[in-house]
Symmetry: C2
Subunit: 246 residues, 2 copies
DNA sequence: CGCTTGATTGATTTGAGTCAATCCCAGTGG
DNA sequence: CCACTGGGATTGACTCAAATCAATCAAGCG
């Protein structure tokens, strides 16, 4: 297979994936693309509820979800977990390991999940040479920071209704961004996980889903969500931050 | 003034500052140090409650607090603010602008404050050449992400007591890290700001300070804090995350 | 077809918020 | 030098959103 054909194949394989933002666009040459792609380890498949890393584990590099879903979380001594983020297909996680070269939180699958990894050392080496790649890495990190900030606003200032509405809107816009329906989708996470992400009780999640349904805003059947009235849903969120897609 | 003398003077001027982590240590040559220092804009002085930037403002680069204190925050339409972080002397802020080259949150002073700025473009150019500097930038960003994660755990899972105790421990450890007393210090922020950071009401902050004082854990007089029993204070925090200094 | 695990629903409790006065200090001006 | 004043801080009384406790209910599975 020629160099060009190889690169093309790789391009296709990364097309719908966030990591592609790191390598494919903005004038990188075919040569450069395949250079980075060489380092990306191809998909690994995992069962639901499998731990990918935990605090103290060596930081290897970034992870990109290809299918399924991953949650990252911290825990209290008493066992309660705070979910920091849900990572859907095409999204990146693992950035928590950068500070000390070891992870600070847990990451585990929520479903049958496959993902790629890109070794940080190799990425950094390429960054020295490719200014555009460097910019993409900054943007990726900046995005993580901004998402975390939005999550802090949600946890610190929003009511339970607002939190759940914000959550649905975020998932919706992220599915939309990846080319899926923004109004009809399957949630990859359990009610318990939603509650832990939003900082509320599972029972509250159930009750609010019911309430939203009674208001005709959504139709919810187990993990299947259909948004019936996007405007009403948006109206539930009173904060001034435009909700940000991950 | 010779090259070496110049660099030495700069080194002293940045010595007690987080930005120094970006340039001074880890085998950068004197030449390289002065190269970066040339770009750092020297201190600017601001009055208390002055806005430094707001959402939409162009991202210029990082800011390093030299004296006083800065808060970064988001707001809801209804006006409530969620404080994302307090930035004490020697700490960095402004990273929220990296994703879109424009800021996403507000930053304003809490006191008479001076700070330096380092233009992002220049920093990036140097990053291309200096691998050690690049690593420092990654660590800085990773640190911000980890702090945000701890804040999410606090906001999502901790009780009001735990939040306030965690807050005091964080401030204490940060003062200690900068060479100040970890048990006796002045808070640069108002009760209102503490409340907004912790996601609780001002009145609750007052009541809990009183309660901590009655338990003999701390002595609080207006903004002056004396920690009398560090073990008891630590005991109030039940989470498994070691509290992380910014 | 029972069993397990997650989701829902209802009854009750409570931690923290809200509302409403003071209090107290820092800064101002007479 | 001291009274005045305004905004932050404190304190108390009351309320309420959401948690907790406690049953079911439903669905996937061996």
């Amino acid at each position: 297979m020629s160099q060009v054909q190889l690169a093309k194949q790789l391009r296709v394989s990364c097309e719908s994936c966030s990591l592609s933002e790191l390598c494919l666009p903005r004038g990188l040459t075919v040569q450069e693309i395949s250079q980075l792609d060489d380092y990306i380890e191809r998909p690994r498949k995992l069962d639901p509820n499998t731990q990918i890393y935990q605090p103290g584990d060596k930081f290897f590099g970034f992870y990109a979800v290809r299918s399924g879903g991953v949650k990252t979380y911290l825990t209290k001594k008493t066992g309660e977990q705070q979910i920091l983020g849900f990572h859907l297909p095409g999204e990146i996680f693992g950035l928590d390991g950068m500070e000390h070269n070891s992870h600070r939180c847990y990451a585990s699958t929520m479903d049958n999940t496959s993902y790629c990894t890109i070794p940080f050392e190799k990425l950094d080496e390429l960054c020295a040479e490719l200014p555009d790649l460097r910019i993409q890495v900054y943007k990726l990190l900046g995005h993580e920071i901004n998402c975390d900030h939005s999550h802090q606003l949600l946890l610190g200032q929003q009511t339970a209704h607002e939190r759940l509405a914000t959550f649905l809107l975020s998932i919706s816009s992220r599915f939309k961004h990846r080319g899926f329906s923004p109004t009809s989708f399957m949630l990859p996470m359990s009610r318990h996980d939603i509650a832990c992400y939003l900082g509320i009780a599972v029972e509250t999640v159930s009750r609010l889903f019911k309430s939203f349904q009674q208001q005709g805003i959504v139709k919810i059947n187990r993990k299947q969500v259909d948004i019936l009235n996007m405007d009403l849903l948006t109206g539930l969120v009173a904060n001034c931050e435009e909700s940000d897609s991950l």
